[in-house]
């Protein structure tokens, strides 16, 4: 994730991988020790080398770097799943799904060449995108959706500190696997119940 610090990049990839498996596999039914074992195994698979390179090199080659918002979401998922720390409210998850879906519809078809307008360029040095985000974040704050407010704020700060390789704000806010994971909580009721408990 962070170009200058390989260890943090490895850590970010490990967090992402644990969260993906946590969301995709039925680990919730395992006893606590079983869950810990699954996490350790996933972490080892990500960190240990396979055919000369650490596992996360292969994952990163496909997934790219996770958006900062995605990493915070993944951390929240892991804490909620395995330590029962509830960092966000159920309503926040519902709103997050809609926002992520709307952003994906706005961003991806246009950035992949559907029209002459490329929505991705809005993320380069664009004060208006920051203003819009601030208004959205104020709405979160007003509704007491503090996790979403902090998530977006941290992404914006990471962008201003240029912590990712990208200089485009969109890459700090959203990535395709984040969308898939958020949608999974919607499409699979069993996953939704994990968050609602």
């Amino acid at each position: 994730m962070i170009s200058a610090i390989p260890l943090l990049t490895a850590l970010a990839m490990t967090i992402a991988c644990i969260a993906w498996f946590t969301l995709l596999l039925p680990v919730n039914s395992l006893p606590h020790a079983g869950r810990v074992l699954v996490i350790v195994v996933i972490a080892l698979l990500v960190i240990l080398p396979f055919a000369d390179y650490p596992g996360w090199y292969y994952v990163r080659a496909i997934s790219g770097d996770s958006a900062v918002t995605a990493l915070l979401f993944y951390i929240a998922v892991i804490l909620q799943q395995h330590l029962s720390w509830q960092l966000y409210r159920d309503n926040e998850l519902v709103l997050l799904r809609w926002l992520v879906l709307a952003t994906a519809i706005l961003l991806y078809p246009l950035s992949l060449g559907l029209t002459q307008f490329d929505s991705y360029i809005l993320g380069y040095s664009n004060p208006w995108l920051l203003v819009v985000l601030f208004i959205i974040t104020l709405f979160f704050w007003f509704r007491q959706y503090y996790f979403l407010a902090v998530m977006v704020t941290v992404a914006v700060v990471a962008y201003s500190l240029q912590l990712l390789e990208s200089r485009n704000l969109w890459d700090y806010l959203i990535d395709p696997l984040f969308i898939v994971m958020v949608m999974l909580t919607w499409l699979r009721p069993s996953l939704s119940r994990r968050f609602a408990r």
Binding site: R60, P127, F134, E165, R167
Partner: protein
Amino acid sequence: MTAIRFGVLLVMISGFTLALSTLPATRESAFIIPEYRATGQGNDPVLEAAFISESLTTEVHSATAVELNNGDIRVFWYGGTREGSKDSSIYSRVLNRVDNSWSDIQEVMTRQLAIRDTRRYIRKLGNPVAVVKGNELWLFFVSASPGGWATSSVNLSVSTDSGYTWGPVRRLISSPFLNISTLVRDAPLAVGNGDVILPAYHELIGKFAELLQLDSAGNVTRKYRISHGREAIQPVLLPVDPNNAIVFMRNTSAAHPGKIWFSRSEDSLSDWAGLDPLTLPNPDAAVTVVQLHAEDELLMVFNNHARERDDISMAYRSDSGAAWQLIHQFETRAGSEKEHNPFSYPFLLHTRDGDFHLFYTWKKQHIKHVYFNRAALLEMRAAAGPGS
């Protein structure tokens, strides 16, 4: 609860204030119009050809070249057991313009180096392009991890000794969709503010041309879309004034195939006219174009066929209102040959002293170099007849 509420608000205001105050200014780019001497080397026509890749690898492809500050020419290509094989690397050698001798071939970039520096697994390398920026030589190349070339990303390495040693490889981030499917094929341009404009294209889902603007640190800071849909890739970028450029593109269209695409910017690189087909054919293949002594006096090397890459031909256009005229054919496939698409990926370099160096893929086995001077070009035009 109130403390949390106002704490979050404070964090929000601080964070967004920081972001707005550190937002990089939009960098306006202005093209530098190149100047060429009208004479070239010698008054006698010279046309020479040679293979330069020396069978170091079984297959070679996609040669490009750059004129160094001392006038020497550094050529790059990629090669391996076959196109896209794991042993593919980027190779390079230098043509000394004083004694017209070639240096030994250097393996300037390997898959292992790129994996180590980008901290991503990479399956294959390809399509090197380079630009001289002050005392630095910037080398861009594509790499793919899963899938084919359509899933490529662009990488950058910088040399401060004209290409004998190279700095760490960095990955350019140019797409929000897993950062896949950005490729390069033709020459970047260094612009007046120290930035680089890199012609690029997408091949996954959409097939379209675009320009990436990179700051002096090599970060992509802006993009410009030239086309959309699935029509055109591999743009060749030529500046016509400080703010505008023209591009020629490979035709990938299913609806309108067979002709080289052309477009021009309208007032800035953010606005492009629609795609316009030339009269010249295009078999879904790369073309190369250079400017002569006026911005709209052009020389193009291309495959002169609508379906096959059976030849390497050259056409000349005297100005924007004139028709293209075929003036020379460097290669043509003999009727008995069974090789499919034997000649491809031409790259033409117009050196500051007015000479021309053409590189292209010869049956995937060799990179062929053709040198011709200004006098030879005039002779080709004269032989082609009036209008050229």
